[in-house]
């Protein structure tokens, strides 16, 4: 097995505050790694280090098994990052997409390469190549920005929330283009997204981050505060529709985040009569994704403003007979919630 990145005891700090502490992370060459976690958990910092935009304060970083000491444009030309806030250059679409090729002094077949990259992101080159940056919608701008990276056929494609704040059609096309990048030229992909289901369905591996650390190499539900004290040593999170999540133990503070493994949530069609579980919440199934080569299913359930994901077996699915839109009861114990 060959790794494109190997990180050991990598830390980063700004103004004396440590924002990233990664004890170990290995990213397989040609794989898609998904990274999830709340805002400010260190995801973007990790991406900047992987994209060689900043040097870690300490630790060991290997790229293609070679220790990285100095960061420069030669390294950045192998690992390109699509930023969360797309900033197209103030030029035409063609000039935006061709910029990286020209920076690399590539002169052959520029038009063909640019057109091919635009087609990968679903933009008609005849229609779009001559447009200026201000003549594009948000989704089109993001697709042009992605095309500007795809045209480079980078060894590593790093994406920071590529589908946030854009229309559904653009998001679908971008998701497809990212998978194509691996299939067509074997790019290793690192993907940060709040869309846990998409991350999980697209990525070979998903890691969760919290407070600058990798908390889990599995998908996690994050339940945000405010938490209120209950009567019996528990804490309660009141949901918008009046339902309550009960958690055991003491959170660090009112707004601490509770972590809940999807495997700890049982789905049922009715309220269980004799369960010891403290939490029984009614919700609506919004999405179902296969994982582990179809052996298990991730079921996303919306409970008003809260989204929880449950992992169930194929057998449970056929027994329950649920589909997106079904009403289900989520059952989990109060001590299944761990504090971040």
């Amino acid at each position: 097995m060959t790794y494109i990145y190997e990180l050991e005891n990598i830390t980063q700090s700004y103004a004396g505050r440590t924002v990233l502490e990664v004890s170990e992370l290995k990213i397989e060459r040609g794989s898609i790694l998904g990274i999830t976690g709340p805002n400010g958990c260190g995801k973007s910092t990790l991406l900047r280090i992987l994209a060689f935009l900043e040097r870690p304060r300490s630790g060991r970083l290997l790229f293609k098994s070679i220790p990285v000491h100095d960061i420069n444009e030669q390294l950045r030309r192998e690992a390109t990052l699509l930023l969360q806030e797309t900033r197209l250059l103030k030029r035409t679409v063609f000039e935006n997409v061709v910029y990286g090729l020209k920076a690399r002094a590539i002169k052959e077949g520029l038009t063909r390469k640019v057109h091919s990259a635009l087609e990968m992101v679903g933009l008609d080159p005849e229609d779009f190549a001559g447009r200026h940056w201000f003549q594009l919608s948000g989704g089109e701008s993001q697709r042009v920005a992605l095309a500007s990276r795809l045209v480079l056929r980078p060894e590593v494609l790093i994406l920071d929330e590529p589908t946030a704040s854009i229309d559904a059609n653009s998001a679908r096309i971008i998701a497809r283009a990212i998978v194509d990048a691996r299939e067509k030229f074997g790019a290793s992909i690192v993907l940060v997204s709040h869309d846990i289901e998409w991350s999980y369905s697209a990525a070979d591996e998903v890691i969760s981050m919290f407070s600058g650390k990798i908390r889990s190499k599995n998908i996690e539900n994050i339940i945000q505060g405010p938490w209120e004290e209950g009567n019996d040593g528990t804490v309660l999170r009141y949901l918008e529709d009046g339902q309550i999540i009960t958690a055991a133990g003491k959170p660090g503070n009112e707004y601490s985040m509770g972590l809940l493994d999807p495997g700890d949530i049982i789905l049922s069609l009715d309220y269980p009569g004799n369960s010891s579980a403290r939490n029984t919440l009614r919700g609506t199934v919004t999405r179902m994704n296969l994982e582990d080569e179809g052996r298990s299913i991730l079921v996303t359930v919306n409970i008003q403003d809260t989204v929880l994901t449950s992992r169930i077996t194929k057998g449970s699915l056929s027994r329950l007979g649920i589909v997106p839109g079904s009403t289900v009861i989520l059952v989990f114990k109060s001590n299944s919630i761990r504090w971040a």
């Binding site: 444009e73 103030k90 910029y99 920076a103 940056w133 201000f134 480079l152």
Partner: protein
């Protein structure tokens, strides 16, 4: 108020009849201001970019000096340049006094702080995401600097137009260095001052209309450039 309305009527007559003396002042103004602004931009844009883009000891002092000089009175520039190029000055031998070349040098020093400060501001205000975008696309340090300047081109154009407005409308340098010599160094502004002093409002208003028209065109261009810079 009759003299004002009569002045406007006579001004249009002068402009439409193509009075040679008036048009000579207009062409002289355009010639010297164009030369001055080109000189100012050639020096001011690189200096402003260096000031805004790079960090170096004394950067803040340079910026403070440049910002202060943006408001320097034109007569003070005229006075200083006069002191240097007059017969008894260190560059007296170059024969620049009462020539358009001398006026251009004065206007260069008048416009330079404007271009330097505004280009530096435009470069400083360039969003961090633009710089990061260029880096993620593999730009080398040289390409990063050149592309950053190009990305800020609309703001730089706005700086150039602002400097041109200051140059074309100044009177102090043109009067003190050029000497307001008929057919040679008389510009629109010095001619207006002279004609008004003589009570010849019509000529003054005619030249004022031309100057205002140029100012409108330049400000229109600045407005378009600023909009593009902000988009």
């Amino acid at each position: 108020m009759h003299y004002l309305s009569d002045g406007f009527k006579a001004a249009f007559t002068i402009l439409l009849s193509g009075q040679e003396e008036t048009f000579n002042a207009i062409f002289t103004t355009l010639k010297v201001s164009t030369f001055s602004i080109l000189l100012t931009l050639a020096a001011g844009i690189p200096l402003g970019f260096i000031l805004g883009y790079y960090s170096f000891p004394g950067k803040h002092a340079c910026r403070a000096i440049s910002d202060t000089l943006m408001a320097i009175p034109t007569v003070v520039v005229g006075l200083l340049i006069y002191a240097f190029i007059s017969r008894s000055g260190p560059f007296g031998g170059l024969g620049l006094l009462f020539t358009l070349r001398g006026v251009a040098i004065g206007q260069f020093f008048l416009g330079l702080p404007v271009v330097v400060s505004l280009t530096a501001s435009a470069t400083e205000q360039m969003e961090d995401s633009t710089r990061l975008t260029l880096m993620t696309l593999g730009a080398s340090p040289g390409q990063l600097a050149a592309s950053s300047l190009w990305e800020g081109r609309y703001a730089v154009v706005a700086a150039a137009m602002t400097a041109y407005s200051r140059i074309i409308s100044e009177v102090g340098v043109s009067m003190m260095i050029g000497g307001n010599i008929k057919w040679r160094t008389r510009t629109i502004t010095t001619a207006i001052a002279l004609e008004t002093g003589k009570g010849q409002f019509a000529e003054g208003i005619a030249l004022g209309i031309v100057l205002l028209s140029i100012a409108f065109i330049v400000n229109g261009a600045v407005s378009v450039a600023r909009k593009r810079a902000a988009s």
